[in-house]
């Protein structure tokens, strides 16, 4: 069984008005993986991978923004 070790793990927060998102990224082999959660409650809302951290995070952020835009359209 081939195993790999996740490296260059990083977590950070970014504001996507009016929301704050939590961005996690790491390298596995030659690919960077990125997940974005909605902080409260912490559900993953976007996931992507790319050849660089910047690419993986940019794709995931675009996906997250799309989902968040829909969320803000209707409140209880």
């Amino acid at each position: 069984m081939r195993t790999m070790t996740p490296e260059e793990y990083r977590e950070r927060r970014e504001t996507v008005p009016p929301y704050t998102v939590h961005i996690t990224s790491y390298r596995l082999g030659d690919m960077f993986h990125c997940t974005i959660d909605n902080v409260d409650p912490g559900a993953v809302i976007a996931r992507s991978k790319g050849s660089s951290r910047e690419e993986a995070e940019a794709v995931a952020l675009r996906s997250a923004i799309n989902r968040l835009m829909y969320s803000s359209s209707r409140q209880g």
Binding site: M1, R2, T5, D40
Partner: protein, 286 residues
């Protein structure tokens, strides 16, 4: 391994223990995700992957899978009745906690949660693989479902106003509880009305865990619940939006704190917030 004062410390293993024992005979690691792309990207070597939406839930009506379906899933996963099952997953172990609850409903003896879940395993740089595990199928015999661990909408209706003997715990975010929003940001709205079940205390799931996703010590958890009137002498029902976050709180109250009667209302707000003619309270007070 520290027991942190837990009533049943045997149901929790840390990542170090898991790394040492994951290949032991009689142990099966299972990753449970709501989005199994996570498992496909890389999982603990030897771990089986379960999809919460398609493998743990009935695909026709809203319910748990049947006893026969569970027996097949476990048998196909190489799990027999004596196997120690180690669960972890994405979304802060919410769905791993659901699987724990579901396995207890069907009577599996030795099931444990990997503290901190997928996030902590990866943050610590522990090994992952994309290779599927080698499985020898087994024959599994489940018990009949133990519904003393589960609450239905009628049960919740019947305990409204009985705060001297029952506690309702709404584990959603404060904005969901008050009715300000119908669903967490970025997730689908699954209800027609916002708010909470009258009398429910709001103790969001995240208060159970540290920054790294591991569970807080028993003393801190006891104080957290006591401060909201949730004490071991009462029977407790926990709910959230779809029943997965409340599974984690159910796990905390039942196994880490040892409360005698704790039930997970898996219908949760997706059911209650759509029901006709049931009471709903909006705002920050119970």
């Amino acid at each position: 391994m520290s027991t942190n004062g837990f009533a049943h410390p045997e149901v929790l293993v840390n990542t170090e223990w898991t790394e040492l024992h994951r290949n032991d005979s009689g142990i099966r690691v299972v990753e449970i995700d709501v989005d199994t792309k996570a498992y496909d990207e890389g999982h603990i070597p030897g771990a089986v992957g379960w999809n919460w939406q398609t493998q743990l839930a009935d695909q026709t009506r809203r319910d748990l899978i049947s006893k026969a379906e569970l027996e097949k899933l476990l048998g196909d996963s190489g799990i027999d009745n004596a196997t120690t099952v180690l669960l972890y997953g994405d979304n802060n172990n919410w769905f791993a906690a659901w699987a724990f609850w579901q396995l207890k409903v069907y009577g599996h003896k030795d099931v444990r949660i990997i503290d901190g879940g997928r996030r902590k395993w990866i943050a610590e740089g522990k090994p992952l693989t994309t290779d599927p595990p080698e499985i020898t199928k087994t024959k599994y015999h489940a018990s009949d479902p133990d519904f003393s661990l589960r609450a239905f909408a009628d049960d919740v209706s019947s305990l409204i106003g009985k705060r001297d003997t029952w506690s309702l715990v709404d584990v959603r975010s404060n904005d969901e509880y008050t009715g300000k929003i119908l669903a967490p940001a970025g997730l689908p709205e699954t209800c027609q009305r916002g708010g909470h079940v009258p009398g429910a205390a709001n103790i969001p799931w995240g208060k159970n865990v540290n920054e790294d996703g591991t569970f807080k010590p028993a003393k801190e958890l006891e104080e957290l619940y006591k401060s909201q009137g949730v004490t071991p002498d009462k029977r407790v029902v926990a709910y959230c939006r779809i029943g997965e976050r409340s599974s984690l709180t159910w796990f905390v109250l039942k196994y880490l704190l040892g409360f005698r009667d704790v039930r997970n209302y898996d219908g949760s707000w997706t059911e209650w917030g759509n029901l006709v003619n049931v009471p709903v309270h909006k705002g920050a007070t119970p």
